[in-house]
């Protein structure tokens, strides 16, 4: 990929992240600091190493597929504790952890809807629409109540929870 092509990609991601940051800032009433973006083109394993050097982090990810003139999947990732902090800020309340985690699924999915405003260019053919969205947890071993367990690498798997209540899903992510 040429320097100019990387620069263009960098610009697109910067705009997307900028809009996400603006939404997050509005929801949490906090200023989100943004640095100069840097595009990495990585294998999945390298991406995991970059996110979690010691392979110990529990990451909450809200994923959202988009389709249009190009398609893909956007992932908004937080560490478990940071995602709870987002919920706390959104609600502006002091709440017990257990009560808070029950609301996390709703809060995180909702913030993903508003934060992942797709980049749209003037041509209507280039507009994108968000489709399915799911909450996933990256862990080293499957929780017992995980309905679908997909192994990405020997150390990382995706847990798809199709459980009836939000509470059950959250317990799968962060056993209390």
């Amino acid at each position: 990929m040429s320097v100019l092509e990387l620069d263009a990609l960098d610009g697109i991601f910067n705009i997307s992240v900028g809009r996400a940051a603006a939404s997050l800032s509005e929801l949490t009433r906090e200023v989100v600091s943004m640095r100069v973006p840097l595009v990495h083109i990585l294998s999945l394993q390298k991406a995991i190493d970059l996110l979690d050097t010691e392979h110990k982090l529990r990451i909450t990810s809200v994923s959202q597929k988009f389709t249009g003139s190009f398609s893909g999947k956007a992932l908004l990732m937080f560490t478990g504790s940071s995602s709870l902090e987002v919920v706390r800020l959104m609600l502006g309340l002091q709440m017990p952890l257990e009560q808070l985690t029950e609301m996390e699924q709703d809060a995180m999915s909702g913030s993903a809807i508003s934060s992942s405003t797709p980049v749209s260019r003037p041509s209507p053919a280039c507009s994108m629409k968000a489709s399915t969205m799911s909450c996933r947890s990256f862990k080293s071993a499957p929780p017992s109540n995980c309905s679908t367990w997909t192994t990405i690498t020997p150390r990382y798997s995706l847990c798809k929870s199709n459980l009836p209540s939000n509470n059950a899903i959250l317990r799968a992510m962060w056993p209390l």
Partner: protein, 123 residues
């Protein structure tokens, strides 16, 4: 007032796009480019632009710092912050610095808005 513009952005694609869009609107503009706030200050002294567009997130010196410096250096120039950082806090900081704020992505609309703002301040 001379039609001299200075485009300050660390992204070459953004500089190329804005430059080309301004020239499409009005080919009589003379356009200079800088990649960060510090370089912008040097170029502003040298070329005395009447229109300056600044990105916010840049290495060396960010757009806010550069806007404050350039406002003092060229008090009559139209200064615009054009950024992907569209948070209310950024817009408020732009207002406090007495400079305009436009949201990326850079498009023909943004270029026209930039020239209209320049036109309203340089009748």
């Amino acid at each position: 007032m001379s039609k001299v513009a200075l485009i300050v952005d660390d992204s070459r694609v953004s500089r190329m796009m804005l430059s080309s869009l301004i020239l499409t609107e009005d080919p009589s503009w003379q356009i200079f480019e800088a990649t960060d706030g510090a370089e912008a200050e040097r170029m502003a002294e040298q070329h005395q632009p009447s229109l300056i567009s600044l990105d916010i997130n840049m290495p060396v010196m960010d757009g806010f710092e550069a806007a404050a410096l350039l406002r003092q250096l060229l008090p009559t120039a139209t200064v615009l912050l054009i950024s992907a950082n569209v948070q209310t806090s950024s817009r408020n900081r732009a207002e406090a610095l007495n400079v305009h704020f436009l949201a990326k992505p850079i498009s023909a609309v943004v270029a026209r808005q930039a020239l209209a703002l320049w036109g309203s301040e340089h009748v």
